[in-house]
Symmetry: C2
Subunit: 214 residues, 2 copies
C-alpha cells in the first residue's frame, strides 16, 4: 500500500477519544504515519486531565492524505479563529479524505467545507450544523465525496474503520478491527437519546453530572 | 458521589486506546480525578507514534480507588520488572477496583494478583494467562471480586462502563454512555477470531501488515 500521511489536529479542550479512536485505527494502516498537529502549543490539554503531545504546529504541516478533526469543549473557541480555519481549508484542498469526529464537524462547517452537504456530529449539537449551511443527518457517519463526518466521540472508531475500507480494502478494515478486538458489548443499550428513558434524558440535560457535549 | 482517585499506569509501548478508552469513561464520573502514572519517564510513547504525558511517577502514587493497567507491546519488558510489579501489588491492596485492559492482564498476572482466578486478555494472548495460574476465559470482561480484566484494546470501554455501574449506578453508566454516543456500528462484524474467515485469520497470523497484539 502507498504511504499515507495522517494528520490529526489537536487543541486545548479536546475530547481525547475523538482523536485517539481514529488514531488507534488509522495508525495500523501499513506504511502510514500519524502527525499530531496543533495551533502552537507543545502539550494539549484534553478535557478530563490528559495531556498529549503535539509534535508539529500548523505552520509545519502543509498537506495530508487523511485529515482528522476531533471535537470537544474547546471547539467553541476556535469557531472564529481564522488562522485555524484557513489552515483546515488549505489542508482539505489536497487531502484524499477530510474527516471529523463529534463537534469537530462544526470546525469543518466554520471552515466552509460542509456547505450544501449532508453531515453529522454529536447528537446533542446536531442542529448547529445548519448554521454552516450543512444538512444535519443522524447517522453514525456521513460520507459526502471525500468528506466524512462522524457522530459523537466513540463514532470516530466506526468512521475510521469505514475509511480504512475506502482507502485500503475490506480485508484490511477487518484485520484492524480484529487486532483491536473491536467486538463491542456495552453493558447497556444507552448510546443514543432514542434508547434511554425520558427521565434519564431529562437528567442528562438538567444535571451537570457528566460532560455532555463531547 | 464520593471522590474517586483513578490511577492509570503508562509505559513505553503502550496501546493508546487501552488507556484512553477507560480514561474517557472514568474521567466522566462526577468528583473523580485521573492520575497518569509511569515508572519514571515524563512522556510515554504509545505504539503508533502518540506521546502522552505521565504526570506522576510510581514513587508519588501510593494508593488508588481504581487502578487501570493497559496493555501493548511494551508489556513484555515489564513482566520481570519487580519494581513495577511490586508497585502494582501494593496499590492493588487498597483499591476499590483493580482493572486491566488487553495484555495489561499479564502484568496483573505477573504481579501475582490473578492466581486461581478467572481472567481474560486480548484473544491472541489468552493462553499466556495460564503461566500466572489464572484460568483464561473468553469474555468481554471478567469480574472476580474487585478485579476486572478485559479483552483486547477496545474492550476497556465496555469494562469501564460496567465499572461505573458497580461503583456508581446503572443510571450513571447510561448517562456516560450517552454523552460519548457509544452506540457502536462497526462497518463489519469482524472483531473476534470466530467472526472472520479462516483465510483472513491465517493472514492475520502470517502477515505483519498490522500490529497484532495490542
Amino acid at each position: 500500500m502507498e504511504s499515507m500521511k495522517i494528520v490529526i489536529f489537536l487543541f486545548d479542550g479536546l475530547t481525547a477519544l475523538d482523536a485517539v479512536g481514529p488514531y488507534e485505527v488509522l495508525s495500523r494502516i501499513p506504511n502510514s504515519k500519524v502527525y499530531f498537529v496543533s495551533g502552537g502549543t507543545e502539550f494539549v490539554s484534553c478535557t478530563g486531565g490528559l495531556h498529549i503531545v503535539s509534535d508539529y504546529s500548523i505552520y509545519e504541516i502543509t498537506e495530508a492524505d487523511i485529515l482528522v478533526i476531533p471535537g470537544g469543549f474547546g471547539v467553541d473557541k476556535l469557531l472564529n479563529n481564522t488562522e485555524i480555519l484557513n489552515w483546515i481549508k488549505k489542508i482539505h484542498e489536497k487531502t484524499k479524505f477530510t474527516t471529523s469526529v463529534c463537534t469537530g464537524s462544526l470546525l469543518l462547517g466554520a471552515a466552509g467545507i460542509l456547505r450544501n452537504l449532508k453531515a453529522t456530529t454529536h447528537w446533542n449539537h446536531i442542529e448547529k450544523l445548519k448554521k454552516y449551511d450543512a444538512e444535519p443527518v443522524k447517522e453514525r457517519y456521513v460520507i459526502e465525496g471525500k468528506i466524512i463526518t462522524s457522530a459523537g466521540v466513540s463514532a470516530g472508531i466506526d468512521m475510521s474503520l469505514k475509511l480504512v475500507q475506502l482507502i485500503g480494502s475490506e480485508s484490511l478494515s477487518k484485520l484492524i478491527q480484529l487486532s483491536m478486538e473491536y467486538d463491542p458489548v456495552p453493558p447497556f443499550d444507552a448510546g443514543s437519546p432514542e434508547k434511554i428513558s425520558k427521565e434519564l434524558l431529562a437528567l442528562f440535560h438538567s444535571a451537570n453530572t457528566q460532560r455532555n457535549n463531547a
